[in-house]
């Protein structure tokens, strides 16, 4: 009997496919998310848009919040640790969190090194905006990848950019000859063996979700259309007028992302979505997607 194997960790992410993972800040929100059909919840102290508004240093959530959420739902519970913050990750693992997000939404604790995720029993998801980042995170032990997008903006443009970019890079790698792959590995800054796996599979060796700016059911469906395996929704749900209805609508739009009539139906009378931020108005320092390489 073996725990924490690569198959067990990556397999956990496979079970989330086609689903929506929702940010929640307390037990009550977690119950609403579960009842709406979320495949997992991300327990946080503040959603990204609040983190953005508050400024200062964003850290892992208070363990009380994580424990409360674990107590009230039967679906998996995820939580975020700062990039490079080994101890936050170990603390969250000790609480029984099912999946850790080494996340650029929080203020990085290390500007150079990410956590060595291979030595954890619990799987990790990490953000990426290109193939190089995705494969470096997988090499460090990440079992799931998500686009970085631009969290807390309610603007899908960056998630779209990252998903399209990763997919186009994968298509390029698929078409390279074996001898060209060595140089491509060097250019991307990734191990040759991992790049060879992408070349053979025609996709990442782990599940790839969309995250960072999903604000409407149509946004979620768009990301599925672009090839995402599933969707993370952060600030969108509990910043909307009717979180319960909104959450159900996102779940349905993700499952039936090619059924446009259904998406029209579930998008009716959802109330005002997040106001949103034009990415061009953010200074480089305000862009969370620039954190971690």
């Amino acid at each position: 009997m073996e725990t924490g194997t690569s198959r067990v960790k990556r397999g956990m992410a496979e079970m989330q496919k086609g689903g929506v993972i929702m940010d929640v800040m307390n037990a009550e929100q977690a119950k609403i998310a579960e009842a709406a059909g979320a495949v997992a919840v991300m327990a946080l102290e503040r959603v990204p848009s609040d983190i953005r508004a508050a400024g200062g240093v964003a850290r892992m959530a208070d363990p009380t919040i994580v424990e409360e959420v674990i107590k009230v739902v039967s679906i998996p519970v995820m939580a975020k640790a700062r990039i490079g913050h080994y101890v936050e990750a170990k603390v969250l693992e000790s609480l029984g969190v099912d999946y850790l997000d080494e996340s650029e939404v929080l203020t990085p604790a290390d500007e150079v090194f990410h956590i060595n995720k291979r030595e954890f029993t619990v799987p990790f998801v990490c953000g990426a905006k290109d193939l190089g980042e995705a494969l470096r995170r997988i090499n460090e032990g990440a079992s799931m990848i998500r686009t970085k997008g631009e969290p807390g903006t309610g603007n899908i443009v960056e998630a779209v950019r990252h998903m399209r970019h990763i997919n186009s890079q994968i298509r390029k790698v698929t078409g390279l000859s074996l001898d060209e792959l060595y140089n491509e590995a060097k250019t991307l800054g990734v191990p040759y063996e991992l790049l060879l796996e992408v070349h053979q599979l025609g996709k990442l060796p782990v599940v790839n979700f969309a995250a960072g700016g999903v604000a409407t059911p149509a946004d979620a469906a768009l990301m599925m259309h672009l090839g995402a395996d599933g969707v993370f929704v952060g600030s969108g749900i509990f910043k909307s007028d009717n979180p319960e209805k909104f959450a159900r609508a996102i779940v349905e739009a993700t499952t039936h992302f090619t059924d446009y009539k259904l998406i029209a139906e579930v998008s009716k009378n959802l109330g005002a979505p997040m106001k949103g931020i034009d990415i061009a108005t953010l200074t480089p320092a305000e862009r969370m997607s620039e954190r971690g390489r």
């Binding site: 194997t5 198959r7 079970m15 496919k17 979320a38 039967s74 998996p76 799987p123």
Partner: protein, 194 residues
Amino acid sequence: MRIGVLALQGAVTEHIVSIEKTGAQGMPIKRIEELNEVEGLIIPGGESTTIGKLMRKYGFIEAIREFAGQGKPVFGTCAGMIVLAKQIAGGEPGHLELMDITVARNAFGRQRESFECDLEVKGIAEPVRAVFIRAPLIQGVGPDVEVLTLYNDEIVTARQGNLLVCSFHPELTDDYRLHQYFADMVEDSMAADL
């Protein structure tokens, strides 16, 4: 021969890949009408609360009951097993309530307790590699249920006529013998129909 995989949420493509290794054709099922095009159905692993909710929403509860009622085989893995069970331990309401078993959800604990191991399955010659992910187990079975696998004295694979369930994820390994076992069930049911 075509075998469907309920594609509301979960590990759908992995099952289709495994089915196609048996020589049968795999088909994702997103709407109830598509059930008419397949001779057997797999309900995959995923989150049982999500799958159950979406099944209700889109009329799959009645449709799959009818499908199984015609003698067509249904195979539930992990969440699929929970969805097929008559009873869920802890008083949570059941979903399809087709198979005479009582299942306990997340019976081995949280993700950090998830594991893989080799298991003997009755009817399959060599042990299979079984991947358990926040897996359920079968706490009780009715008289018509045949137990196929035990893990530490707990039931993790069982069959009742045209219904097959397992706690683990055969679709996450390259070994397709359990899918072959199910494909044989589907073939037998088609032969019985003639």
